[in-house]
């Protein structure tokens, strides 16, 4: 006899934004999985219309408090593409440094405050801090280094204001950058200690057959540059995004679901970057990967915590390299006359690829905007992860099944607030 039951998490904890989860079980099979995102639509794409292109990085930075740099980088990339601006190499490198700061602070927060408690059986980081205070302290110290990098390049730590189309409003002096080095060295040392600790966590067995999608850059581990690649052989220019990917509405969520047109759901984020760019990691990050036992590709979403640590080390190490080899740019930004056009930009936000597309009129005013955040791209795959563990959930008592289901969601560090700025608002009557 099969029995049916419903696992319902009315408000997901330790994820950003307002979301819920309903799994309808039919025996040991999930007949329905709905990751319900009820964060109100934020309509960013609509209110960008009619604004000047130079305003966009400051407006899009407000979409997210933990990944504003990603929104700034994807938006300036798209607008520079439309205006035909190629930024100077020192500016490109300073943007990478800024992005390093964002990865460090975002990943550190997720690893130490949101994700690690799952593996150790604590309700939250506060409970974990009683027994693992040294690790929490190290994690927070690493996060502060990321904050300091963002504040130095971005003008302030939260919602930075120094990024502009073509470059920066002000380039920091060399001394300001060099002042970051002691903190970066301390954070690298802390990450080495943390690596051994994280490697000893108990990771549930779950191997998924993801199509992993990320930027791949010939020169380096990807931040702002490269083509869109996947483990299924995809290799396209960023401006072909819409030809390959499609977003669709589902009735229970204010975030759109994305899929590869020809195939289906996919995953972006740390697992994808690591799978497609492990050969671009620096020596320090490779060493960390060895320490924690990671080999690319990693298809176990629980082990994403390890990949985030590898990426923290990569970002710290690259930040160190960029500062040590810093060449001041001749000018803080490149300018270009207004012109009509369409531009595309994709960068690697901490939780995955973030795509922007803008249409500009002859005065460089925005006539159309499109923003595809990583969480909406991953939403369908997160639901499929839950389907994949349905038999495990069925065997667990309700409270444990609920906790396990939440863990499946948190593996991907979803940022629900980011994902809910869809444009097509439909009212059913």
């Amino acid at each position: 006899m099969t029995s049916s039951r419903t696992i319902e998490v009315k408000s997901l904890a330790r994820v950003e934004g307002e979301g819920a989860l309903t799994i309808t079980m039919d025996g040991d099979r999930a007949s329905s999985v709905e990751l319900r995102i009820f964060e109100p639509p934020r309509l960013f794409e609509a209110f960008l219309r009619g604004r000047a292109a130079f305003e966009v990085p400051d407006l899009t930075a407000r979409i997210c408090g933990i990944c504003p740099v990603a929104y700034q980088m994807s938006s300036v990339g798209a607008i520079e593409d439309a205006l035909g601006i190629v930024v100077d190499e020192p500016i490109r490198l300073l943007r990478r440094l800024l992005y390093c700061g964002e990865w460090i602070e975002s990943h550190a927060l997720h690893v130490f405050m949101l994700h690690a408690p799952d593996f150790l059986g604590y309700d939250d980081a506060f409970a974990m801090a009683r027994d693992h205070g040294d690790m929490v302290r190290r994690g927070l110290a690493i996060k502060q280094v990321g904050n300091a990098i963002v504040a130095t390049l971005g003008g302030r730590a939260i919602h930075p204001v120094n990024v502009r189309v073509g470059g920066f409003y002000r380039v920091p002096a060399r001394a300001e950058l060099v002042a970051l080095l002691p903190g970066i060295d301390d954070a690298l040392a802390a990450a080495r200690v943390v690596a051994s600790w994280l490697a000893g966590l108990d990771f549930p067995d779950l191997e998924r057959d993801y199509e992993l999608v990320a930027l791949r850059d010939d020169r380096a581990y990807p931040f702002c540059d490269g083509r869109i690649a996947s483990t299924a052989g995809l290799d396209i220019a960023v401006h072909d995004f819409d030809a390959v990917f499609v977003e669709e509405q589902v009735p229970y969520s204010t975030a759109l679901h994305a899929r590869v047109r020809a195939r289906g759901p996919y995953l972006c984020g740390p697992l994808s970057r690591f799978a497609l760019n492990a050969d671009r990691l620096g020596d320090a990050a490779r060493e960390t990967a060895r320490t924690v036992g990671l080999v690319a590709p990693c298809m176990n979403p629980f082990r994403s915590i390890l990949v985030r640590l590898v990426e923290i080390v990569q970002a710290l190490d690259e930040a160190r390299h960029l500062i040590t080899n810093h060449v001041p740019p001749d000018r803080p930004y490149a300018d270009a006359p207004a012109r009509p056009g369409v531009g595309h930009g994709a960068t690697e936000a901490p939780r995955g690829m973030l795509y922007h597309r803008y249409e500009l009129d002859e005065r460089a005013m925005i006539t159309d905007a499109r923003i595809v955040p990583p969480t909406s791209q991953n939403q369908k795959t997160i639901e499929d992860d839950l389907r994949a563990v349905a038999s495990t959930l069925a065997a667990l008592p309700h409270a444990e099944a609920t906790l396990h289901a939440e863990r499946i969601v948190r593996n991907h560090d979803p940022c629900i607030s980011c994902s809910t700025h869809f444009l097509d608002l439909r009212i059913r009557r």
Partner: protein, 182 residues
């Protein structure tokens, strides 16, 4: 005594904490350690101290601008700004777990605007009053008495705490810390 200005410069009135620290620095009080931090998670390492601490921050109460708010103890369960950040109450609680929190006296200035590069006129007008109040706390030894006795014993401190207790019953939802929506 340590004074920590919490908030972001170039974020309108959210920068009132750092601006107050600037004012204290200009006065020149070598007995005060003056620090600044942009967001609450940065507080945790600064609170690993046995020195009494004054945290000065912007407060949104939905009703006023430029009014001083004092709390001798932070209420628990203050609204979290975002799960992708740590709010002031959480930062103090976590600091306590990690190192044992020092005595913390909270001085807030109510604000309404987090846009623009500078403070609004109403909030800027409150800066000298906040500085005066922090200097009172430092010179009267209020924090020292609070630290040693575990509860306010100085008359000046009691008055402050009594006012704080009254003010800490919010008529409307209050939140502190970074005021923009992450």
């Amino acid at each position: 005594m340590i004074v920590i200005g919490l908030g972001q410069r170039a974020a309108g009135d959210d920068g009132v904490g750092p601006v107050i620290v600037d004012g204290l620095r200009a006065i020149g009080r070598p007995d005060l350690a003056l620090l600044e931090v942009a967001e609450p998670s940065g507080l945790i390492s600064l609170l690993a101290t046995s020195e009494p601490v004054v945290i000065v921050d912007a407060v949104v109460d939905g009703e006023s601008e430029g009014e001083l708010v004092e709390l001798a103890e932070l209420p628990r369960g203050m609204r979290t700004v975002s799960t992708h950040g740590i709010d002031l109450g959480q930062a103090v609680a976590l600091a306590g777990l990690l190192a044992g929190a020092p005595h913390i006296h909270f001085v807030g200035v109510t604000i309404a605007c987090t846009s623009g590069a500078y403070l609004s006129a109403a909030v800027a007008a409150a800066v000298p009053r906040a500085i005066e109040r922090i200097l009172e706390l430092a010179t009267a030894g209020c924090s020292r008495c609070c630290r040693t006795a575990g509860s306010p014993s100085d008359a000046r401190c009691r008055r402050s705490t009594a006012r704080s207790a009254h003010r800490s019953r919010p008529r409307r939802r209050r939140r502190t810390g970074a005021t923009s929506r992450p």
